[in-house]
Structure formats: C-alpha cells, structure tokens
C-alpha cells in the first residue's frame, strides 16, 4: 500500500513574503486573495486525495490577524471548522504561538460570513 504524503504549502514560496490586509480591495497579497487563489484549491486537492494539507507559516514578514482570519477562518466558513482541522496541519517555528492562534481562528469562524473577532 502506497503511503500518501501530505500536500505541502509554503506561504513564503507559494504566495508572498509580505502577507497583507484582509480584503483584496485593501491592498496586495490579502488574506482573501491567498484563500481564493492558493489555500482553497490546495485544500480541495488534499480532500480529494484524502490526505492532509501541510502549511508552512515561516519565512514571511509576519501576519496580521485580519489576514489569518480571512484566509483560514474563511476556509473554515466554506468547509466547516471540523473538516478543516481534520485535513490541515500548520507549522510555525519562528512565531511560537502562531499555529495555535490560527487554529483558534478556524474554531471561532462562524457561518454567517463574519468573524467573531474584534
């Protein structure tokens, strides 16, 4: 039986070194853009191949909560927090609690299109 490896996604390599604001109209490299152009397609691929999507958060200039909530929280609003957490793995060695915070944004994403944050 062939072992299916996790799909890899690096925000630095596959998107941008400088993640930006929440929405596309606010500026380049937004959370919305990242979600629609990179995260959702790769997550869909992971679901179809019944594997996990491994996201590397390291190497960038840092993230705003607005970017993370719109991208990962937005993903959870499309697929449900439970499904996202089941098929997503996060890595962050440069910012100690970043992965934990992202998981919290996923768990707290509600289904009316708005975040409970702020």
């Amino acid at each position: 039986m062939t072992k299916v490896e996790a799909l890899q996604l690096s925000i630095l390599r596959d998107f941008s070194m400088t993640p930006g604001p929440r929405f596309s109209h606010e500026g380049p490299f937004s959370g919305e853009q990242f979600r629609d152009e990179v995260l959702v397609p790769r997550f869909k691929e992971a679901l179809e191949s019944k594997t996990k999507l491994f996201v590397d958060l390291d190497g960038t200039a840092g993230y705003g909560t607005s970017f993370l909530e719109e991208s990962f929280g937005g993903l959870a609003r499309i697929y449900s927090p439970e499904l996202v957490l089941k098929h997503l793995e996060l890595k962050s060695e440069e910012d100690a609690y970043l992965a934990e915070d992202v998981i919290a944004y996923i768990e707290e994403a509600n289904d009316n299109g708005k975040s409970r944050l702020g």
Partner: protein, 209 residues
C-alpha cells in the same frame, strides 16, 4: 511587662540576623550557640534530678562525632536544595521580566502609531515583529517553567490567553491598512494593563515557591 517587650525586641533582632544567614554554615553555628549555651548554663537547674557520670567513654565520643557528622551532612544537603531553588527562581523571574520588557516595547510602538495616525511599511513591520518578540518571550518563559519541577504548578494560561487577545487588538482590522482608532486604543490599554498585572502576579508567585 516592659521587660518582656525588651526581651522580645532582642529575640526579634536575633531572628532577623539568623534569617539573613539561612543557608550559610555560619547560621548553624549561631543556632548551636544560641540554643546550646543557655541549655549548658542552666542545665544544673533543668536537670537537677538527673545524675551524670564524670567520665567520657569511646561510645560517647563516637556518638558526638556521628551526631556532628549527620548535622553537617544535612546542613550541606539543605544548603544545596536552597541554592538550586534560588537559581530556578532567579532564572524564571529574569524570563518573566523579559516578557514584561518586550510587552512595554510593543505598547510603546502601538502608542507611537496611534498618536501619529499614519500607517507606513515601517510601522507595520514594527508592530508585527514587536508582537512576535513578545510572543516568543512568553514561549521561552513557558518552556523554562516546564523545566523546573518545583515550579510545575505555576500556570501561564492566563498570560497566554491575554496574549492571544492582544494579537487580535494589535493586528486585526484596521491594521494594516488604516491607523488605529480610539476603540483600538482603549482596548489595547485595557489588555496591556491586564497583561502587566498578570506578569507581576506571576513573578510574585514564582518568588513565593
């Protein structure tokens, strides 16, 4: 009654001096003198009905030597325990102070940004890296606590929860496109003060262990 007050003051001063010397071998010598000397001077009165032999046997010498040896060994062991505990406390307090300093730094950066009411690439970078530095200092403190068995009951959960809320205040909308609002300022101030208080409580808790 006045004599009692005077005696109390003398004893209190002796106690304060002894407390300063705890952990020092000199303390044990002083304890011995303070307790042993009056006992020796008043022993005829205390032990009047007890008869003592005026000879010292080899068993008595061995008895005294082994008692002194045990007292010294126990003293050295207790001294080491105290010393290890002090090192752990000092290390954790230093780490907690680093957390506090990095928090004050990001608070200063936030206030600069709020007062200037402008968003630049530099200010965005400062906020992000400042918060990351603070966050990582909390992680270092957490790891250090886990490495000290005596401090294992100290919980960092409140600080971590507040840290998470602080990230949202600093880097959620309107960041990084628009300047911070009055609402951002008020929320930041509230969480900042709560964090400072939590860290201070933590330092006191560490010192008490």
């Amino acid at each position: 009654m006045a004599n009692l007050g005077w005696a109390k003051r003398i004893l209190y001063r002796i106690f304060k001096i002894l407390k300063l010397l705890i952990g020092s071998p000199l303390a044990y010598l002083l304890y011995g003198i303070v307790i042993g000397l009056p006992l020796g001077l008043f022993s005829p009165l205390i032990f009047a009905s007890i008869t003592f032999k005026n000879e010292i046997g080899i068993a008595d010498l061995l008895n005294v030597s082994s008692t002194v040896l045990v007292a010294v060994v126990i003293g050295l062991y207790l001294n080491k325990q105290y010393s290890d505990q002090r090192v752990e406390k000092d290390l954790l307090i230093e780490n907690a102070k680093e957390v506090s300093n990095s928090l004050k730094e990001i608070h200063r950066i936030f206030l600069d940004n709020y007062y200037q009411q402008s968003v630049t690439e530099k200010s965005v970078r400062e906020i992000k890296s400042g918060f990351k530095n603070f966050s990582n200092n909390v992680a270092v403190l957490e790891n250090s606590i886990q490495k000290c068995p005596r401090m294992s009951r100290i919980s960092l959960e409140e600080v971590k929860e507040q840290r998470r809320g602080y990230r949202v205040i600093l880097t959620n909308d309107p960041f990084p496109t628009s300047p911070y609002t009055i609402s951002s300022y008020n929320n930041e101030d509230k969480v900042y003060r709560a964090l400072i208080q939590s860290i201070q409580t933590l330092i006191l808790e560490i010192n008490r262990k």
